[in-house]
């Protein structure tokens, strides 16, 4: 059983969390693409706080003793999912940066050589 006080804390916490996400998005500090998994986590936890009987149904089914443990379990699953998505995002970004840096180096070489040629032809 979830106590009333835990339910209240969970509810307030989840609401603050959702507000923070919306605030960050409004400020343009989080893009929509990356906010989806955070939103999903928030909504699932909100449902857990509002309807603990749903959590109770699943904890009974899985043999988890207390609903609170079930909520923690769901939370940990989301944290893992979010960290995994961050690693994937970071890998994608480093790929793009690498390609960009290499392209820049090749362009820099062309510009440098063109400038040298230009300087030479101006001398003559």
């Amino acid at each position: 059983m979830m106590t009333g006080i835990f339910k209240t804390i969970l509810l307030i916490g989840v609401l603050l969390y959702l507000m923070l996400i919306i605030y960050l998005m409004k400020k343009g500090r989080m893009s929509l693409k990356y906010s989806l998994v955070w939103f999903l986590a928030g909504v699932v936890l909100l449902v857990c706080a509002l309807f603990p009987q749903i959590v109770g149904f699943f904890t009974d089914l899985l043999g988890i003793y207390s609903e609170v443990n079930g909520v923690f379990f769901i939370g940990v699953c989301f944290i893992l999912l979010i960290i995994l998505s961050l690693t994937s995002i970071a890998s994608g970004l480093s790929d793009r940066i690498r390609t960009l840096v290499q392209t820049q180096a090749m362009l820099e070489k062309r510009v440098r050589e063109l400038e040298e040629k230009l300087a030479e032809s101006e001398k003559n």
């Binding site: 940066i97 690498r98 840096v101 290499q102 820049q104 180096a105 090749m106 820099e108 070489k109």
Partner: protein
């Protein structure tokens, strides 16, 4: 055939002039490009001053990203063969023709210069030899190819492999990982004997302290690549 020698250089101010000049006098028929991986010393200024053909990365990408830049340059400029050649004076330019020969004959796509076939010249510490043997065994099991010098950065590749590497080049442990990547994609890998020198000046990027940790990571990386790596094309 158009041949490009790619010389990765990170903080090689003490060696780079010697390396490039020796290369130019030994193999005047090949082109070269120095890839300055955002060195903190004056490697870039030295290259400019001597009129070397060089690429200068604006941020440090590490040896994998630097080499890949060289491969992209080779692909964009229509080279048939690309050669990796260290900027620290460890590699002997006179062996470049031996490295190219199997590719010109159509016998191999990736040719590695090994210092352990004839066991001549600089042979490195026994601790690192052990590590290189473990890598060789891993590559034999995972790639089905006999490699005696998996960490050798002295290698030549064909046009097809230039294209492959310009799109996908191992970033973290490039030398051994590039071998398994080439094998998974069905390229033929061959080793030829070479003689290497000890570094003349400067400090190598790998120290003995990190060697064991490096070994474990690279072995795992090879196995993981074999299990999940995709065939290119």
């Amino acid at each position: 055939m158009k041949v490009l020698v790619i010389i990765p250089a990170y903080n090689e101010a003490l060696n780079i002039v010697n390396t490039v000049n020796t290369l130019k006098s030994t193999c005047p028929e090949v082109d070269y490009v120095v890839v300055n991986d955002c060195s903190q010393d004056n490697t870039a200024a030295i290259c400019k001053e001597h009129g070397f053909n060089f690429l200068s990365l604006p941020i440090n990408l590490g040896i994998g990203g630097g080499m890949q830049c060289g491969y992209r340059y080779a692909f964009a400029n229509g080279y048939d063969i690309a050669i990796q050649f260290d900027g620290d004076g460890q590699h002997n330019a006179e062996y470049i023709k031996d490295l190219i020969a199997p590719i010109e004959a159509g016998e191999a796509d990736l040719v590695i210069g090994s210092r352990f076939i004839n066991k001549e010249g600089f042979q490195t510490s026994s601790m690192r030899r052990l590590g290189i043997n473990v890598l060789g065994l891993t590559l034999k099991i995972c790639g089905g190819v006999k490699i005696t010098d998996a960490t050798s950065g002295f290698r030549a590749v064909s046009r097809d492999v230039i294209e492959f590497f310009s799109h996908h080049y191992a970033q973290d442990y490039p030398e051994p990982e590039a071998i398994i990547a080439a094998r998974v994609s069905g390229f033929r890998v061959k080793e030829v004997p070479v003689v290497m020198n000890e570094r003349t000046a400067g400090v190598s990027s790998i120290n003995t302290f990190k060697s064991i940790y490096y070994m474990i990571k690279v072995t795992l990386a090879i196995i993981i690549y074999k299990l999940v790596g995709k065939k290119w094309r």
